[in-house]
């Protein structure tokens, strides 16, 4: 049995924030789940996938082709009165945002939770967007845990809130809440749960055509008023202390504030408002809190999401209490970019209270010799390195290595941008290698060779390829097919051989898109590959090279499991 399915209420386990969310969802009777992997959310899907293999779990889970599809699948399951969950990384929600915003209008029947993991400081992402903005954009309730145990409790309660309101609920984490491991106390698992849904047809409810969707927006607005009352009375929003200096924080920031209050020994001077149910803003709770304060500091990573709302509430209440946060007119207490360090938060609070900080002596590291970088690299024997090597050599032999533009994509192979390979000239997001190749081909007379992995091709590479066929764009798309979603931890995709799934052939997909110039190479056969690539590139037309070889790391792990 999966360790997250142990029916031992009261047991304390050391869980990752992401695992705790899964436990919470299982305690809430989760029945249907789908996701596309993305760090820092990946372990949620991994755990759910492991649980679903156990038939007795009553859970359906799949790694879907992309986030949009996963959200559509889970939304419909929730419309059928089955509790559902999808999880994604912050940029994954961009992909699914088309679903999200209208799903808010039509809502759900059973609870649906959307776990969204942000990545302040870009530990493993292409940007550090603050997805709390999506809660406001779509107007959906949002919870933000600050510890693994709270993550479990919130995940569980999110389903209740979702059902009460008939709306999906966003559970937002950051890298520092998803990837923290801490003690989590298990609650009860449901004795039985529904696994077959029932869909009651009701076009006025479920079909978002203009006539029907218009009144649904009013329903959403009304439900979000109710949600505001829920957030004001939520057990996840609470005050601590009775000092005249107010501090507001949520998520990882709340942890840094709690530690700073301890380190500065200033508990008697502050009132700490800890927010976990963060949207809709708990208006009345905040208004009451502001009335008693002489000054307030809002501690939040990235955008001034709470800060601006709190300032608006103060204005409406006619309160002149100064509210500090991000770099504003008064210099700002905390930065808007990157995740916080505990020190930044402690310094901000000390400055607000006029306290001196005692610090241990620091080593003088100036004058020491510089250290070499330790860059991420492709694994030993990785087929991607072979593919890059072959393409590079082919371009060299054609004497166009320097002139060729190489858009790249999201996956292990983007490490190819770094030394020693250094191939990769342009990257925005999933699938952009294929889409942007067309722009380079239209705008320049250079040769364009794009790199994309199998999972990314399925995720977002197919529509641009069809577009390229139709409009006659000229570039070469190298599909580096290792038959697995490797970077996020070897999740399956439609090209992965799995005993219970019907594998989709990339070659057939490419041919089906209408590509005529298509070849397959084995990247380990170097000379043969180089010659093939040269022949393909000699023609000035759209071409696809499928470089097929399994991920060595995955193969090694599978070997170990045998």
């Amino acid at each position: 049995m999966h360790e997250l399915l142990e029916d031992k209420p009261g047991k304390k386990a050391l869980l990752l924030g992401n695992e705790a969310i899964v436990r919470g969802a299982m305690e809430a009777g989760l029945a249907v789940s789908a996701a596309y992997p993305g760090t820092p959310s990946s372990e949620i899907g991994n755990s759910l996938s492991g649980i679903a293999r156990d038939q007795s779990s009553g859970l359906y889970f799949e790694f879907s082709i992309n986030e949009k599809v996963a959200m559509e699948l889970t939304a419909a399951a929730a419309a059928c009165d089955l509790r559902s969950l999808t999880c994604l990384k912050h940029v994954g929600l961009n992909v699914a945002s088309d679903v999200l915003v209208t799903l808010a209008y039509i809502g759900v029947k059973a609870g649906m939770v959307i776990v969204c993991s942000d990545d302040p400081s870009l530990h493993s992402s292409q940007n550090e967007q603050d997805n709390r903005a999506y809660a406001r954009l779509a107007d959906l309730p949002m919870l933000e845990p600050s510890s693994p145990h709270e993550a479990k409790e919130m995940a569980k309660e999110a389903f209740e809130i979702s059902e009460t309101l008939g709306l999906p609920v966003i559970l937002r984490t950051t890298t520092r809440t998803s990837h923290v491991r801490g003690p989590v106390e298990y609650g009860r698992l449901p004795e039985s749960k529904k696994t077959r849904g029932l869909f009651q047809k009701d076009p006025e409810r479920w079909v978002a055509i203009p006539t029907f969707a218009k009144p649904r927006h009013k329903v959403l607005a009304d439900q979000m008023k109710k949600a505001e009352r829920l957030s004001t009375s939520s057990r996840f929003n609470w005050k601590n202390g009775c000092g005249k200096t107010g501090i507001v924080a949520s998520g990882a920031s709340a942890c840094y504030v709690a530690d700073a209050i301890h380190d500065l020994n200033c508990a008697k001077d502050v009132t700490f408002l800890r927010l976990g149910f963060t949207y809709p803003h708990p208006r009345d709770l905040i208004a009451g809190f502001l009335k008693d304060m002489e000054k307030v500091l809002v501690v939040e990573e990235l955008e001034p999401f709470q800060e601006l709302a709190i300032k608006a509430i103060a204005q409406e209440e006619g309160l002149a209490v100064p509210i500090y946060g991000k770099d504003g007119k008064d210099g700002g207490y905390l930065p808007r970019l990157y995740e916080f360090t505990p020190q930044q938060v402690r310094n901000a609070i000390a400055r607000l209270l006029g306290l001196d900080i005692k610090r241990s002596g620091l080593p003088d590291l100036s004058g020491l010799p510089e250290l070499p970088r330790r860059l991420a690299g492709l694994c030993q024997g990785c087929p991607h390195a072979q593919t890059y090597g072959a393409v590079k050599e082919a371009l060299k032999e054609l004497d166009i290595e320097k002139d060729t533009i190489c858009p790249t994509d999201i996956g292990c192979y983007l490490i190819g941008v770094l030394p020693p390979i250094q191939m990769g000239d342009y990257l925005i997001c999933m699938g952009s290698s294929a889409g942007t190749a067309m722009g380079f081909s239209v705008a320049t007379d250079r040769k364009v060779v794009s790199f994309i992995g199998d999972s990314t091709f399925f995720h977002a590479g197919i529509p641009p390829l069809i577009n390229a066929v139709y409009h006659g764009h000229r570039f070469c798309l190298v599909i580096m097919d290792n038959s697995i979603t490797a970077m996020t931890g070897h999740q399956p995709n439609p090209g992965t051989p799995e005993h219970d799934r019907r594998r989709v052939s990339i070659e057939q997909v490419v041919r089906g898109c209408g590509v005529k110039n298509l070849v397959k190479i084995n990247p380990y056969k170097k000379r043969e590959s180089i010659d093939t690539i040269k022949t393909v590139l000699a023609k000035d037309e759209l071409s696809v090279i499928i470089s097929e070889a399994p991920c060595v790391l995955h193969a090694k792990r599978m070997e170990g499991k045998k």
Binding site: K12, L14, L16, T39, P40, S42, E43, H123, S124, S146, S147, P148, T175, R176, H179, V180, R181, G182, P183, A252, A254, C255, Y256, A258, D259, E339, T341, P342, Q343, Q344, R359, S360, G361, L362, P363, D364, L365, L368, P369, E370, L371, P372, R373, R374, L375, A376, G377, L378, C379, C412, I415, P419, P420, M487, T488, G489
Partner: protein
């Protein structure tokens, strides 16, 4: 309860995460408030792997510069790199066996002169435990057990609010069965270094 911030740093594949996990499990068993943080994803592909262990009721998962109580470096270059997280009171445990980064292997950059760095460390930090954990692990039976040597030093240095017996129990039950005996041996070697 005393609050302790431990920073573990090393290279992907050295087992830093396993060590932090073992400390976490032992702390949980002995009722010591604990949280661990890990960085996953791209960093694991041959990059630097940092993790933290926070004991005694610290809520925040990361350590600011100059604030680690203990630094455990699984590779000398990474120990040097992490010195900015140390104050002059930090206890440092470090492996001396090198794992050169790719940029060094291909001749783009040079591995630093370790003597300069170690001399600096000796002048600056009062307590340093340095050993060739790789060699000791080989003596114990497997190069894979180098992380257990370092864990042994950490436990043997008398800084942890966790008993060694509990930790050993954990190593026996939570590490690979085929390595458990070797791991225990390596752990004991580390304990011995710390006490001598």
């Amino acid at each position: 309860m005393k609050r302790i911030k431990i920073l573990l740093t090393g290279v992907g594949g050295q087992g830093t995460l396993l060590v932090s996990r073992l400390i976490g499990e032992a702390a949980l068993m002995e009722g010591v408030p604990v949280s661990l943080s890990e960085i996953h994803g791209m960093a694991q592909r041959g990059g630097v792997v940092e993790s933290t262990v926070m004991l005694g009721g610290i809520e925040g998962p990361i350590i600011s510069e100059g604030e680690a109580d203990i630094l455990a470096g699984f590779e000398p270059l990474e120990t040097f790199r992490a010195l900015k997280y140390c104050s002059t009171e930090t206890v440092i445990i470090t492996n001396t066996a090198q794992t050169p980064p790719l940029t060094v292997k291909i001749g783009m950059e040079a591995y630093p002169d370790t003597q300069t760095w170690f001399d600096f460390m000796k002048r600056t930090f009062p307590t340093i435990y340095a050993c060739d954990a790789h060699e000791l692990a080989l003596k114990a039976g497997s190069a894979q057990a180098a992380n257990m040597v370092l864990l042994g030093i950490l436990m043997g240095a008398g800084l942890m609010p966790i008993s060694s017996s509990c930790m050993m129990e954990n190593i026996k039950t939570k590490t690979k069965l085929c390595l458990a005996a070797i791991n225990i041996k390596a752990f004991e070697m580390g304990m011995e270094i710390a006490s001598s």
